[in-house]
């Protein structure tokens, strides 16, 4: 554990960040626990280790702001306020799932809190955030849109096309790249000439920051600046959030168990657990107590147990529903 730096945000925000990260961590760990039963029939891309990004960014957002996410999107949805019940129900393929059992783990959606969906095509949802930002600009107001995506997405042309257009039209969008240094098992330097994703902002004169995302406070501040610029009509920002995923690309095992990367690498990163880091800081500053933290953990556990139970009790869709929702047929 590195030395805790002084807490430089109000205590209530810090407590919320902690709570959001714990919610995400426990939400994902619960999936790890039940996945072996093989009744959650959906490919899960867990974000354990990366929680600070979802929490730090979304803490700056309002319900009427939009986010777009990816195959690794559980954390983003939770941080934006999506219901754990509806998420789990979706993963169990149930009718009360957020996508009525049509999307699974890779396509969560929660329009009521600004989650405009997720694409499992790498880079696919990036331009949707730009489009939402274009709509915001046309419709007026100070809402913003956020695109979450991985380092792999920066290999795709659509990433570059999206940045260009957002900068060209000064759109209120924040590009949040979660650079976990891998796309499936391909290390970033096997795919790109350098691993500095922020450099891509330069040709577009786009403000950018490379953020150590094991420290949620750093993420929070960087996102705060980006969101403020976007709300003020000053256009897009590229944030490169450096992070690490603890689990494998898909499923509950770790990559070293599959021989995809060295165990030591994971262990080094695990020394810098983002949840632990903030909680230690809060304890050191006397903002929370050990007891409060334990209670918080138990409370989240109860909420998630309830959500999981709800999901398992939900009915499956009627098989006839397979033919529904192909086309929109009116509100």
């Amino acid at each position: 554990m590195p030395e805790a730096t002084a807490l430089d945000i109000p205590a209530d925000i810090a407590i919320r960040l902690s709570r959001t990260m714990m919610l995400i961590r426990q939400f994902e760990e619960k999936i790890v626990d039940v996945y072996g039963v093989q009744d959650m029939k959906t490919p899960v891309h867990l974000c354990i280790g990366q929680e600070a990004i979802a929490a730090g960014v979304c803490e700056n957002l309002r319900t009427d702001d939009y986010i777009l996410t990816t195959h690794r999107g559980h954390g983003h949805c939770l941080a934006k306020g999506a219901s754990p019940r509806e998420l789990y129900a979706e993963f169990y393929g149930r009718r009360q799932g957020c996508a009525r059992g049509k999307g699974g783990s890779m396509h969560p959606v929660a329009p009521e809190c600004g989650v405009l969906g997720a694409s499992a095509i790498v880079g696919g949802s990036l331009p949707h955030a730009v489009g939402a930002a274009l709509a915001i600009k046309m419709q007026g107001g100070d809402r913003v849109a956020v695109a979450f995506f991985g380092d792999g997405a920066t290999d795709e042309g659509v990433f570059h096309e999206s940045l260009n257009f957002a900068a060209l039209k000064t759109l209120p969008v924040i590009f949040v790249c979660e650079n976990n240094f891998y796309a499936v098992s391909s290390p970033i330097l096997a795919r790109r000439c350098n691993d500095n994703i922020v450099l891509h902002a330069q040709p577009y004169d786009m403000p950018n920051e490379q953020v150590d995302s094991m420290d949620v406070l750093k993420v929070y501040h960087a996102a705060h600046r980006a969101v403020a610029r976007a709300r003020a009509g000053e256009g897009p920002t590229l944030l490169e959030c450096r992070t690490y995923r603890w689990k494998g690309h898909v499923g509950p095992e770790a990559d070293h168990e599959k021989g995809c990367r060295p165990k030591e690498e994971l262990e080094d990163w695990m020394q810098r657990c983002p949840v632990e880091y903030l909680n230690q800081l809060l304890l050191a500053e006397g903002i929370i107590t050990e007891e409060a933290l334990a209670e918080s953990t138990r409370e989240i556990e109860r909420e998630l147990d309830d959500a999981l139970e709800f999901a398992r009790q939900c009915p499956f869709p009627d098989p006839r529903e397979v033919l529904e929702n192909v086309y929109y047929t009116g509100a």
Partner: protein
């Protein structure tokens, strides 16, 4: 009825319309008018595309719109079709109604990911919680050596994709009416226009009206053979029908207008009557719309045909450049006449 009529020459059109006191305008003017009225009546509508605000105005179809509605609503865009399609999708999911114009169909493969994986899927993948009201205007070119990458048509490809709708208007009346219906539809609609129909003229009401998606139309009634003709081939089929009439062969011309959803009933009822079928398309043979139509007939009414079907379509080769090769490549009225004679004679 004036709105179902296909006019093969301008004089005939002018004459008839004048007699009936109706307004005749061209196909490209009809599209221009439809877009202008849509933008006038609905703030959510905007047009985007490479060169939509240039002096040519996309063959006249966007002429003057940028001046009238501003360049924010009639938006020139980067040459980045995939992201721009995704951007249109994103805007559509939050209440806008984008119209994306492509000068050529051939550029659509650049945005196949956003069209096929995203526009077509979002409604289903989200259990109906999002939908994508998007009209993609895709223009088919032809001639003057346009060659392999500037004259293709992809309606068969798009027709294969659940979640997309595919429209191919042939007349000015349908161009306007189907455009406005497509814009109201709430789903991604591939609106495929053929350059060679742009100067066709016909009756087009001044007010806004809709031609429902999924309703085909009989362009000419006949007894002996049905020609299902798509887009510009409707004109070739009408010419062929006139030639064949002189031979004593009575031809029915069916224009499906929408390919997805397809007016199967209309096609089936026509073919049930004539018991012979020729399909005239503006694309390659293999995996074509014609193949789908024939399959649907075979699935429900395998025994109605008394003669082999014929497809008048592009050969399975890329499109060539030389005028001589183009002439050899493109099928027209002559080929339709020949196809009809073959199957009428043989049965």
């Amino acid at each position: 009825m004036p709105w179902t009529k296909v006019y093969l020459n301008v004089e005939e059109m002018a004459d008839t319309l004048q007699k009936e006191g109706l307004r005749g305008i061209s196909y490209h003017e009809a599209i221009l008018e439809a877009q202008a009225q849509a933008m006038e009546s609905d703030d959510r509508v905007f047009i985007m595309g490479e060169g939509v605000d240039d002096p040519g105005g996309i063959f006249g179809t966007t002429l003057g719109l940028a001046e009238r509605f501003g360049k924010d609503r009639v938006m020139d865009i980067p040459v980045a079709e995939n992201a721009m399609t995704g951007i249109a999708i994103g805007a559509a999911t939050v209440g806008m109604k984008p119209v994306f114009v492509h000068m050529r169909n051939d550029f659509l493969p650049m945005c196949m990911d956003q069209l096929v994986n995203h526009a077509a899927k979002l409604c289903y993948m989200t259990g109906g919680r999002l939908h994508v009201p998007l009209v993609v205007r895709a223009i088919i070119g032809r001639g003057w050596g346009s060659a392999a990458q500037h004259a293709q048509a992809f309606h068969a490809l798009f027709m294969h994709i659940p979640g997309l709708k595919v429209v191919m208007p042939s007349t000015p009346y349908d161009a306007k009416g189907l455009f406005l219906a497509a814009l109201d539809d709430g789903n991604p609609v591939m609106f495929i226009e053929h350059r060679w129909t742009f100067n066709a003229v016909g009756y087009v009401p001044e007010e806004m009206y809709r031609v429902p998606l999924g309703e085909g139309i009989i362009r000419r009634e006949g007894e002996d053979v049905t020609i299902v003709a798509l887009s510009q081939q409707v004109y070739e089929a009408m010419k062929a029908a006139a030639i064949l009439e002189a031979d004593g062969i009575s031809v029915e011309v069916v224009d499906p207008r929408t390919l997805k959803p397809l007016d199967e009933e209309l096609i089936l009822s026509s073919v049930s009557k004539t018991r012979r079928l020729v399909i005239a398309d503006v694309a390659h043979r293999t995996g074509s719309v014609g193949a789908e139509i024939v399959c649907r007939i075979a699935e429900t009414s395998a025994d109605i045909l008394v003669a082999p079907i014929r497809r008048v379509c592009f050969p399975d080769t890329p499109i060539p450049a030389s005028p001589v090769l183009e002439e050899a490549f493109y099928p027209g009225a002559d080929d339709i006449v020949e196809a009809v004679r073959e199957i009428v004679k043989g049965s």
